[in-house]
Amino acid sequence: MPSWTTRLLAACGTAACLLAQSPAAQAALGDSAQHPLVVAFKGGATTLDPIMRSETTTESWQRNIFDTVTILSPQGKPVPRIAVAWKNLAPLSWQLTLRAGVTFQNGMPMTAEDVGRSIMDAANNPKSQMREFVNDVTGYKVVNPTTLEVTFSRPDPLFPVHLSAIPVMPEALIKKEGRAAFAAHPIGTGAYRFVSWLAEDHLDLRAWKGYWGHPVAFKFVRLESIPNGATRLAALLSGQIEVAEKINPEDFARVKNSGRARITSVPGTRTMYLAMDDWRETGSPGMAAGEKNPFLDPRVRKAVYEAIDVGLLREKIFNDAATVATQFMPPLMESFDRGLKRFPYSLADARKLLAAAGYPHGFTVRLDATNDRYLEDSLVAQALAGMLQQVGIIVQVNAIPKAVFFPQMNRGDFTFYLAGWGSVDPLSTWNSMFHCRDAKLGFGHVNREHYCSQAADALIAKASGSFDDAARVKLERAAYALADRTDIAYIPLYFQDEIAGVANGVVWNERPDGLILAWQMQRK
């Protein structure tokens, strides 16, 4: 960063003044520790132990130091990182071919044993937040230095996708010095090595010479947290930082008109949806005492669906940086069906459906929402209330902080609420959000609405054992068609876009999985 004086001198514009510039100011971006490429996030990583937190910002910071076994392409397909090929040997066994010649940043060679034990760590550590990705793994066998065989208790046809969440760690080192010491000075196989950090504030990185992949464009990188949106924007526009994530939609024009930066956005994997109580006859929280729960009637659910103009939300609230959801599954998922359209927005049809269901004058209900979790969440809730009022549904918006919202939501204390779901794959989303509740088998653990379709569950069960991609996708689509179109289990609204502002000198396009990876950035 040029110092205050250099800026002043540069501003005076005379040749003499320009000559006085210090060498640091002339060094190219990212070539020195004084002038690193700076990427600013809203939050910051809480830990550098790569299995302790499944949250996009923390993972973004970590994954400049650590490689995952696979990574998702912009189309959502698993592509090689540490594993270069994978083959399904039997329903309960996958074989991974590992990249040869990979070394950790402390000079130790990476072994198949490291990869196997990293998977087991992610699956078994009580504090691991990556457990769900590799829950069914029972063990591994090192066949030869570059071949690993992984065994399962249940078939996992999407294992290569799940491996995109599993970091490769130097297991011998962790065993020797303990996880706390390892997290304080993390060592991975990634493009950058750890220099220093302050939790949730900044992380300084330096290109690692022994990295197996393409040399990075920027040798010195600083990831930092600038929580306030206006400050983040100001830092980008003043040239203090190069990439700023989560630019507010109302500021897009300012970025575009600045001439210094541009906006990049892509549909993410988070589905914003409306959930409706599908089990209580009466006594639903947020309804008048003794009143019948109107959402048990599928016609009411469809009426609510048709009364919402998602295109208007997209345009007015998100400045087009959101993607209208035609189905619950986001575009990145294998089951996403490009041919599907939403039920058309039609107030007339919605009124007809309500009348047929016995609510010609609508009803009154409370809509619960967060006010600090999703982009513009409380604003969306207000807008939805306005839209539903047009068909006579009086909505009282209750927008509350996430720390209060989520415990209530998990207890099933809501009748009608706005929330988001980040999908990993269609099967796990189904088994968590849509499957008939079964505490013993662990199905439907976040199916707070008690949606239940045994026919669809059977399709998913079949898909879960199918290693034939085309056949599996067909089964998944059939199940989601039942939930989305026939039963309207949830009302999908939009996919939140991943958004960032990028300075002119840098090439970066947002990834659908929301990770911001300095090693994928290029110079312009």
Binding site: D49, K127, E132, N135, E200, D201, H202, T231
Partner: protein
């Protein structure tokens, strides 16, 4: 003096115990940290495993006793999120907050006291009127607005100061001024009114009658008496700023302890919240003690009775 110190230490310990216990019970009544910590995809089984690993499955009484035992051994537990010792997370951020608070209090005193004297010398004079209207402005502009306004002018429009971070003294200019703005106004008004009061007191009139020059009368005789309430307010403000700089820390992305504590509060990261409360409570206890000492130095009557 020794008895005074011992009584003070005993009172301080009692205060800290009450504060910690109250906060412990209050935050455990507010919600479930696992609901915020666990990713939404996490199964019920994994949640139970995580809860047990953090000791949150124990009855509240057991958790409380364990916590107090830990505190007595100097162990305040680790953050649920970072796995780092909670006290270290707070303490490594104390310097930034202290620098910020020290600088802004310094600016406030260095500007506010002279302004106050200047206004008091000629009540209802031009300086007095201008300063009085400025001080109304100073006490009514909200921190977040002033902060954003400064960033807009000095970072975006003129591009002379960094909008965020804490790398050098330059980083502190805008945040310190943002915090100081209200205090300048406060000290100006306070010094003006107390000085006007003391200027009518007997010892000042005696000094004037003896023929002491006016600057000496004001600076030596009147100001010393007038400073007493200022010391109290100074102590209060220091404590308030120390624990209240959260908006400024957030706007300017300063890694201070208040921002950390706010994050911990949002996330129900109990060990960090409790460590923060302990640090703040200890700070208040220390400041109050120092204010008492300063009183003794400034006012002989307190010294002899204390």
């Amino acid at each position: 003096m020794l008895r005074f110190l011992l009584t003070r230490a005993w009172q301080a310990l009692f205060t800290l115990w009450v504060v910690v216990s109250l906060v412990f019970l209050l935050i455990h009544a507010t919600g479930d940290p696992i609901a915020v910590l666990a990713p939404e995809q996490m199964s019920a089984h994994s949640r139970a495993v995580l809860r047990a690993a953090l000791g949150l499955d124990r009855p509240l009484a057991v958790q409380y006793v364990r916590y107090l035992a830990g505190v007595l051994h100097g162990n305040l537990g680790v953050s649920y999120y970072s796995g780092q010792p909670a006290m270290r997370l707070i303490l490594e951020r104390v310097p930034v907050t202290l620098e910020l608070v020290g600088l802004s209090i310094g600016v406030a005193v260095l500007l506010g006291v002279p302004f106050g004297i200047w206004a008091a010398v000629r009540p209802d004079g031009v300086a007095d009127r201008v300063l009085r209207s400025l001080s109304v402005l100073g006490s009514s502009v909200p921190t977040f607005f002033l902060g954003i306004l400064l960033i807009y002018f000095f970072s975006v429009a003129f591009n002379v100061l960094p909008a965020s971070g804490a790398g050098s003294l330059r980083h502190y200019i805008m945040p310190a001024f943002t915090l100081a703005f209200f205090r300048i106004a406060l000290f100006t008004r306070l010094v003006r009114s107390t000085l006007l009061e003391t200027l009518n007191q007997n010892h000042v009139r005696t000094a004037r009658a003896k023929g002491v020059s006016e600057p000496v009368v004001i600076l030596k005789h009147a100001l010393r008496t007038a400073l007493l309430p200022l010391v109290t307010v100074f102590g209060l403000q220091f404590g308030q700023l120390f624990a209240g700089a959260v908006i400024t820390e957030t706007i300017f992305a300063l890694p201070g302890m208040n921002r950390m504590a706010l994050q911990a509060l949002y996330r129900l990261d109990y060990p960090v919240i409790l460590a923060y409360v302990l640090v703040v409570a200890a700070m208040f206890v220390t400041i109050n003690f120092l204010v008492d000492l300063a009183y003794g130095l400034l006012d002989p009557r307190v010294r002899h009775h204390g």
